[in-house]
Amino acid sequence: MKKWIFISLLLFVSLSFTQVLQRFPKPDFQSGYERPVMQTPAPRSLVLEYLDVGVLLLVLSLTTYFAHRRRSRRLIFTMMIFSIAYFGFFRKGCICPVGSVQNVVYSFFNADYVIPLTVVLFFLLPLIFTLFFGRTFCAAVCPLGAVQDVVVVKPLSLPKWLSSVLSLFPFIYLGFAVLFASVGAGFIICRYDPFVGFFRLSGSFNMIFLGGFLLLLGTIVARPYCRFLCPYGVLLNWFSRLSRRHVRITPSVCINCRLCEASCPFDAIHKPTTAEIPEDKIVLVRRIILICILLPLMMVSSGWMISRLYVPLASVHPVVSLAEEIKLEDSGLRTEVSDATQAFRAAGKSTADLFAEAHAVQQKVKTGGWILGGFLGLIFGFKLIRLTAYRRYSEYEIDQGDCLSCGRCFSYCPVDKNGQTIIRLNTEVT
C-alpha cells in the first residue's frame, strides 16, 4: 500500500510545475502552405464510459462498506489513493460528479442538448449513496477531495464564526454555476477546477496556482475546497442530512469520554450540550420571528442586486463576449482583432443578429439573477436561523451534513461493537 501511496503522491506533486512549460509557437508560413485541418480526438467509447460508471459504483460500494462495516480509516485511505489514480490521473478528472451538475442543469434549459446516461449516473449515484449512507463519496471516491485529504498534515480547528461565513461560499458558487450553465454561458466549475491541472499534467498559471495554494492551505486547513467551495458538496450536504444510516463515531453507545472531541479535522463533531439553553428563550423566539419576517426582503433585495449585474455576468457568455468585441472593434475603442471576431466576420454573419442574440442572453441572465439572488437571500436567512436556534446533543454526534465519512474519528472511540470499553495502545492514524 505504501508503494501505491508513494507512486500516487509522486504523480500528483510532479504536476505542480508542468504548467509553465510552453509549447513552441507554430511557424508563420508565408509561402501559402496550408496547415492541416485540426483533428479532434474521438470521444471515449460507450463501453469505457459505462466502465467508468461501474468503477464509480464499485468504489462507492467499497468505501461505504469500509466506512460502515469495517470502520477502517486505512481501507478508506486506500480507496482515496485508488480514486486519485483512476478518476484523477487516468480519467484526468473528467467527468466528475462535481461538474456533472452543470450538464444536468444545461440539459434542463437546452432542448438541443441530450445528456448522456453515463453523465446522469455520475450525477445521481453519489447522491443516492449519500441519501442512504452519508457522504462516502466525499470520503474516498471524489478525486478532488482525496487529493486534498492526503496532504492534511496538521489540521487546525477554524473559529466557528469563520467557518460559518466560509460555509456560505459553496452556495454562491453553486448558484452562479447553475446560472451560467442554464443560459449556456459555460461550465465554470470545470473552468475553475483547481486540481484538474494536476491530473492532466497541464493547465493555466491561475489554475495551477490556485490548486497549489489550496493544497498548501490544505496541510493546515483540512480539505478547504470541499468545505468552503465545492458546489456539489451543497447537494451532498442536503442529502446527507436525510440519510438514515450515516456513519457514527461510536459503533455502539457513546460514553461521552470526550476522546473523539478534537479528532475531526473538519469540525463536524457536535459536543453534548448543557441542559439549559444559555440564552433567554423569548429573545431567541423573537429573533427567529424577525429573521422570518425579513427573509422575503432579503430575497428580493439580493435578487434585485444580482439582476443588476446582468451585464458583466452575461459577458461570460461567448455570444455576448463576441458581440462586445465586435462592437469595440467597430467603434475603434479596441484595435486588437481577436480570432473570434475574425472568424465571425469571415463567416459573413449579420452583426445585427449577433447583437439581438446577445441581448436575449442578457435578458435571460437578468431573470436568472433575480432567481439566484432570491436563493442566496434564502440561504443567508436560513443560516441566521440556524445560528440562532439551539439544538440539544446528549452525546458526541456527527454533523450529518458536514461529515465527510473519512473515518478518522473511528479509532478514537474506546467502545467496541458490543458496547465494551477497550483501550488501544499505539494505534496509528493515517
Partner: protein
C-alpha cells in the same frame, strides 16, 4: 537477503528510532524542497523576463529582413540566433522537468515522514467545560454578526458593480464617444475627399449630367479660370467648392460659390511654423499642390508639396498650420488628406521616413504617428473603409498594402503584393480591396482574410489612375488608354477597351455608369457592366488630370486651366 529482512523487522519494531529517522527525513527533505522551489521560481521568473522565443534582437533582425529580404548574411544571422533561442528554450524545459521531479520526490518524502509522525500522535480534547459553554455563546453571536455583515457587503458589492457596469450593446454612448466627425450620410451628400465621400470613387449623387461640351459651352453652367496651378481635385461641401493652388512663391486655398463660380474667399497659407526655406523636388506632372484638400463640413484641410499643412474654417478663417517636414520625394508629394472622426489622416511616405500620421483636427497636434519603415516611397492616397463593420485605413506602397485602425494607427493586417513606385490608390467594394501598380499586379484582397490575395491580374496595369469597383466588377484604366473590366470575385477579365488617350484621372462609379476622364479632358461614360458599352463622350476643351466632383445634378471638373461646373 535474510539479514536485510531481519534488519527491517528490527527497525519496524524500534519506534523511537523510526520516529527519529522520520523527523530527520522530514527536515532534510523539507529544506531541500524549499531550496528547489526557490530555484524553480527564480528560473521561471528569469524565463518570463528574458523569453528566448521573443528576443528583441531576433525581432529586430526579422524587421530588418522585411525591408531587406534578399540579405543572405542577415538570414544566416537570424537562423543562428533562432537556433540559440531554441536551445535556450529546451534547456529551460529540461531544468523545469528535472527540478519538478526532484521537488516532487522531496515533497513526497517530507509528507510521508510528517504523516508517519502524526500517526504516532493522538489529538486530545481540553477539559474546560465552562469555557466551552461561553465559547459556544460567543461563537454564535460572532457568527451571526459576520454572516449579516458579509451578506450586506456582498449586496453592496453587487450594487456598486451594477452601477459601474455599462452595457455597450445597449447604450451606444461609449461607441459614439470617439465619433465627432460628420455621419456617413452627411459625407455622402457632399464630396469631401479625394475620390469622393468614401475615398473609393463611388458617387452617390443622382440626376447627373450625361452630355456637355466645354468648348461650345453646352451643358456648362459656369467656367472660371484657375487662379493658381495645382493638380489637386475639387472637393465640395454644401454650396462651397474648395481647391488649392501653389507655385514656387505662394500657396493658397480657394472657395468658390457652386451656383456661379464666384470666389467667396481666398486664403494664402503663409507664416507656417517650420516652413522650409528650400523648395521641394517636384516634377511638372505633380507640382506644388497635388494633394487634394479634405473637409468635414466644419473646417478645410490642405497639404502642399513642401509639407505645409493648414486648417481654415469654411469661411476662410485661419485655425492652425504646421510643417510636417520637407518631403524627400523625387516626383513631389501627392498623397491626399482624409478626415476621420476627430482626426486628419496623412499618408506621409517620403525619403527615409514613411508613416501614417494622424493630426487632431482641432489643433493640428499629432494624435499618433505610425512608422512605416518597411515600405518604400508612395504617391497613393489612403482608402478609408468605414460603415460596414470595423473601420480601416488602407495604404498602398511597395511591398505592402497595410490596413490600420484609423483611431489608433495600429496595424490590422498587411499583404505583400505591391512592387515599383506606387501611385494608384486602392479601390474597395463588398469587403474586397483592389490595389494595383504598373510592373506589379492588380491584386484583390478580402479584408476578412487578407493574408493571401483572392486573385491577381497582371495585364494592362495602371500607373497613375486608381481602379474603381462595385460589388461585381473592377475597372482599371491605364496611362496608355486601356480600360479593363474584371470580375471582382474571380479576377476573370470581362472586357478591355483601348482608347486613343491615356488616363491619369481616376474613374468614378455613379449608379451603373462609369465616368472616366482622359488626359485630353474627354470624359467617357461607360456602362458598369460585363460587356463594354459606351454611353457617351464629352470633351472639356482642355486637358485634365484631376478627378471630377459629383453633387446632385452637377459635376465639377478642374481642368489644367479652368474650373467647370457641368449641369443643367
Amino acid at each position: 537477503m535474510v539479514k536485510m529482512r531481519l534488519l527491517f523487522k528490527e527497525l519496524a519494531e524500534d519506534r523511537p528510532l523510526l520516529r527519529k529517522m522520520a523527523q530527520r527525513t522530514a527536515w532534510i527533505s523539507g529544506v531541500f524542497a524549499l531550496f528547489l522551489s526557490v530555484l524553480l521560481i527564480l528560473n521561471y521568473l528569469q524565463f518570463k523576463t528574458h523569453d528566448p522565443l521573443h528576443s528583441p534582437a531576433l525581432t529586430q533582425l526579422m524587421q530588418q529582413l522585411q525591408s531587406d529580404s534578399e540579405n543572405q548574411a542577415l538570414k544566416e544571422q537570424i537562423r543562428a540566433l533562432d537556433l540559440l533561442a531554441r536551445k535556450a528554450f529546451f534547456i529551460h524545459q529540461w531544468q523545469l522537468r528535472t527540478g519538478s521531479f526532484l521537488l516532487l520526490v522531496s515533497i513526497i518524502l517530507m509528507l510521508s515522514a510528517i504523516k508517519y509522525l502524526r500517526s504516532l500522535e493522538r489529538i486530545l480534547p481540553s477539559f474546560d467545560s465552562k469555557a466551552a459553554t461561553d465559547e459556544l455563546l460567543l461563537d454564535r453571536l460572532s457568527s451571526r454578526r459576520l454572516v449579516i455583515w458579509s451578506g450586506a457587503a456582498l449586496v453592496l458589492l453587487a450594487f456598486v458593480a451594477g452601477l459601474l457596469s455599462e452595457n455597450q450593446l445597449k447604450d451606444p454612448k461609449a461607441v459614439e464617444l470617439a465619433k465627432t466627425g460628420p455621419s456617413l450620410e452627411e459625407l455622402r451628400q457632399n464630396w469631401p475627399h479625394f475620390r469622393g465621400p468614401d475615398t473609393n470613387g463611388h458617387a452617390y449623387a443622382d440626376s447627373l449630367p450625361t452630355t456637355w461640351n466645354g468648348s461650345s459651352g453646352e451643358g456648362i453652367l459656369w467656367k472660371v479660370k484657375s487662379p493658381k496651378p495645382g493638380f489637386n481635385s475639387i472637393i465640395v461641401w454644401g454650396s462651397k467648392l474648395f481647391f488649392s493652388g501653389a507655385d514656387e512663391q505662394t500657396q493658397s486655398l480657394y472657395c468658390l460659390d457652386v451656383t456661379n463660380g464666384n470666389t467667396i474667399w481666398e486664403r494664402e497659407i503663409k507664416d507656417v511654423p517650420g516652413h522650409p526655406s528650400e523648395l521641394p523636388d517636384v516634377t511638372k506632372d505633380t507640382g506644388f499642390a497635388a494633394p487634394t484638400c479634405a473637409t468635414d463640413g466644419q473646417n478645410l484641410y490642405t497639404l502642399f508639396a513642401n509639407g505645409d499643412i493648414a486648417c481654415v474654417d469654411l469661411q476662410g478663417n485661419f485655425i492652425w498650420s504646421k510643417n510636417l517636414g520637407l518631403p524627400k520625394n523625387h516626383y513631389g508629394h501627392s498623397s491626399s488628406l482624409v478626415t476621420y472622426n476627430d482626426l486628419l489622416l496623412v499618408q506621409y511616405d517620403h525619403g527615409e521616413s514613411k508613416s501614417l500620421l494622424a493630426l487632431r483636427k482641432s489643433n493640428g497636434k499629432t494624435a499618433y504617428q505610425t512608422k512605416r519603415n518597411d515600405v518604400q516611397l508612395s504617391w497613393a492616397s489612403p482608402l478609408l473603409v468605414q460603415g460596414s463593420g470595423r473601420d480601416e485605413i488602407i495604404l498602398s506602397a511597395t511591398p505592402f498594402v497595410i490596413a490600420y485602425h484609423p483611431s489608433t494607427g495600429k496595424e490590422i493586417w498587411r499583404n505583400k503584393c505591391m512592387d515599383g513606385e506606387v501611385a494608384p490608390s486602392p479601390a474597395y467594394a463588398a469587403g474586397r480591396v483592389f490595389v494595383v501598380n504598373e510592373y506589379a499586379r492588380l491584386a484583390a484582397i478580402d479584408i476578412a482574410n487578407p493574408s493571401i490575395p483572392l486573385w491577381i491580374y497582371e495585364e494592362d496595369l495602371s500607373e497613375v489612375s486608381s481602379p474603381v469597383a462595385n460589388d461585381e466588377l473592377v475597372f482599371m484604366p491605364s496611362s496608355y488608354g486601356t480600360l479593363t473590366c474584371l470580375d471582382a470575385l474571380t479576377g476573370v477579365k470581362q472586357w478591355s477597351h483601348d482608347f486613343d488617350t491615356g488616363f491619369y484621372s481616376s474613374p468614378i462609379i455613379a449608379g451603373d455608369t462609369i465616368y472616366l476622364m482622359d488626359l485630353k479632358g474627354v470624359t467617357h461614360l461607360i456602362k458598369a457592366a460585363r460587356e463594354y458599352q459606351l454611353i457617351g463622350e464629352n470633351a472639356l476643351g482642355e486637358s485634365a488630370v484631376t478627378i471630377p466632383a459629383f453633387m446632385t445634378g452637377r459635376i465639377y471638373i478642374r481642368g489644367d486651366e479652368h474650373i467647370y461646373c457641368i449641369g443643367s
